[in-house]
């Protein structure tokens, strides 16, 4: 008897837990799915309220096509976003791996000063130094160029990613290096062939954060990219949503938002444990 009651109680608790989990999951995921589904409606239907969210008058890619007809088109902005994000990933990985290795394994003048300098930039909001960054880029001839934007994004990543990489290198036992040195490994071989495979998880983590940071950044791109042909997706989509290209086409907004969200979601789902790892590293220190 008592056993039956406790079993029923357990079942009720499990039911309550999973209903909570499912309802909360739906609330968090619904807006994303709603947008992605609505984007497949024909343009006429996309103007109406999204009830139900899926297309009822036939599946269509019309919204994606319209999106490509605004300004320089969706594809041009997407290319800009891809270029900026990929370059930010590559450069911040190279710069952070080198610096992480340098800070972990060598003693040189001003080492502590440089390390503290790089980490302390995290305290200063970049929003407050955008005007001079604009002027510096102009001086360097990088005004209104995607390369200039990449430079800014890489710098924003540095405190986190160098901290990550230095810790990753610190965790590699020195005996491994000494053994490799005995075998005659030079500096480059040492870093690329011996050390890099050992710190690879850290590299994936900083690459993921660099991609998400660059792909999603809005304010710096809005301020620094004045020419429409240089717009990244967030800037382009905001221009479209503000009615800069005539009446607001909500179908096109849904399509554009989907394009902006999907790469982030795929990367996150594929590399989730690296993402959580990065957050933990940040949270524990």
């Amino acid at each position: 008897m008592a056993q039956a009651i406790s079993a029923r109680g357990k079942f009720a608790a499990r039911l309550a837990r999973h209903s909570t989990g499912i309802i909360a999951s739906v609330l968090f995921v619904a807006p994303i799915v709603w947008t992605a589904l609505s984007a497949f409606k024909p343009a006429a239907e996309a103007r109406l309220p999204p009830l139900p969210p899926w297309p009822t008058t036939g599946f269509s890619l019309e919204n994606y096509a319209t999106l490509n007809s605004f300004g320089d088109g969706l594809w041009a902005s997407a290319q800009n976003s891809i270029y900026v994000s990929v370059m930010t990933v590559l450069l911040s990985v190279v710069v952070s791996v080198l610096a992480g290795y340098g800070f972990s394994r060598f003693r040189f003048p001003f080492k502590d000063l440089f390390f503290v300098l790089i980490l302390s930039t995290i305290m200063i909001p970049f929003q407050s130094i955008l005007t001079p960054i604009f002027l510096v880029l102009t001086k360097l001839g990088l005004h209104n160029t995607l390369t200039g934007l990449v430079g800014v994004y890489v710098t924003l990543q540095l405190p986190f990613s160098i901290f990550m990489m230095r810790n990753a290198f610190d965790a590699v036992p020195r005996e491994i290096e000494e053994a490799a040195r005995m075998d005659g490994a030079g500096n480059a071989t040492m870093l690329l062939r011996v050390m890099l495979p050992l710190v690879w998880p850290g590299v994936v983590t900083i690459a993921l954060f660099a991609f998400l940071g660059a792909w999603n950044e809005f304010l710096a791109a809005l301020v620094l990219m004045t020419d429409q042909s240089k717009f990244t997706l967030p800037v382009m989509m905001t221009a479209l949503q503000s009615g800069r290209f005539g009446a607001i086409d909500w179908g096109a907004v849904q399509a554009g938002v989907t394009v902006m969200m999907v790469p982030c979601l795929i990367l996150f789902l594929a590399l989730q444990r690296f993402y959580i790892r990065g957050l933990m590293a940040g949270a524990v220190k």
């Binding site: 989990g21 909360a24 407050s128 950044e217």
Partner: protein
């Protein structure tokens, strides 16, 4: 070449030190690109912000040194103080709202049980989407004619005429709060979860044996042992909210009636719409001081507990 000379002239011990010293210096080369980037895109702009704040600096034409005039102007700039006040109000409300959702979620997903990982992934998904994407998405959902909320409420008969959520301050403000909580709660949840998981299980069990109820355990064990995690989540939320811009720019354009202009939004307007670069720099300095002060409070809150490592 130099090593050969060194090996012939110096005694063996000194030679070894020179070799090791030279190898150590290579570290400078490794960190040089990072240091150069930080100098060009951070240190120099930071110095320039301070310098520009002392000037009348239009986009075109000559700039002129005007001492502290920009700062005196800030004191009389009621719209900046209103923006700062609004930013503070938003920060308090949104931080409370985020914690109110994220803490229960963190407790919900803390223990490894069936499907927990799946729920965690779902809760976290909005956090990897950018603020700009999330704002664009919600600007559509909140739209009075083509959106979801108002037409759905109308269809369900909850309201007798379509209601524009973005036309007046209160509904517009709470819409933004809802959107930000949706986007950020998963992130805060993960941070709080790491804190919960770091609490030794036997401590909780001992308290259960001693007859402590769930509330007493939460107050006497969970909260004190999570102090550093809580402080971190709090600071991240506060710093992020003080710098809020995307959602207010994209969804509300600072409206209705400029009531939702945040501090960063006001600086953006002064610098890049009115092109008063010097004045914008002075405003930036004020914002910077606030944020640095916050960081110092953070360091103090995050200090290691006394008696422990």
């Amino acid at each position: 070449m130099t090593t050969i000379i060194a090996s012939t002239t110096a005694p063996p011990r000194a030679r070894k030190r020179v070799g090791a010293g030279r190898r150590q210096w290579i570290g400078l080369i490794y960190v040089a690109p990072a240091v150069a980037l930080v100098l060009v895109f951070f240190v120099i702009p930071l110095g320039m912000t301070a310098w520009m704040s002392l000037h009348n600096w239009p986009l075109m034409g000559e700039h002129a040194f005007i001492g502290l005039d920009n700062y005196w102007a800030i004191l009389r700039d009621t719209r900046f103080w209103n923006a700062l006040k609004f930013t503070g109000y938003y920060t308090v409300i949104v931080t409370i709202a985020i914690f109110a959702i994220a803490f229960p979620l963190a407790i919900f997903i803390e223990k490894p049980r069936p499907l927990t990982n799946l729920y965690r992934t779902f809760f976290f998904m909005p956090a990897v989407v950018g603020f700009a994407s999330a704002s664009l998405l919600w600007s559509w959902l909140l739209n009075v004619d083509s959106g979801l909320f108002s037409p759905a409420a109308y269809d369900l008969g909850l309201i007798d005429k379509k209601f524009n959520l973005l036309a007046t301050f209160q509904p517009a403000f709470w819409s933004i709060i809802a959107m930000v909580v949706w986007k950020v709660a998963g992130f805060t949840m993960i941070i709080l979860m790491t804190g919960l998981q770091s609490i030794p299980q036997d401590l909780q069990e001992a308290a259960v044996i001693d007859g402590a109820g769930p509330f007493a355990r939460f107050r006497a064990i969970t909260l004190p042992l999570m102090r550093r995690t809580l402080a971190l989540a709090l600071i991240l939320s506060v710093a992020g909210s003080i710098l809020a811009f995307d959602q207010f720019y994209i969804i509300l354009r600072g409206g209705p009636r400029n009531q939702t202009l945040t501090a960063v939004y006001w600086i953006f307007n002064q610098s890049f719409v009115s092109f008063k670069l010097g004045y914008g720099a002075a405003l930036s300095m004020v914002l910077l001081v606030i944020l640095v002060a916050l960081s110092l409070i953070q360091l103090w809150l995050l200090r290691k507990p006394e008696g422990l490592d």
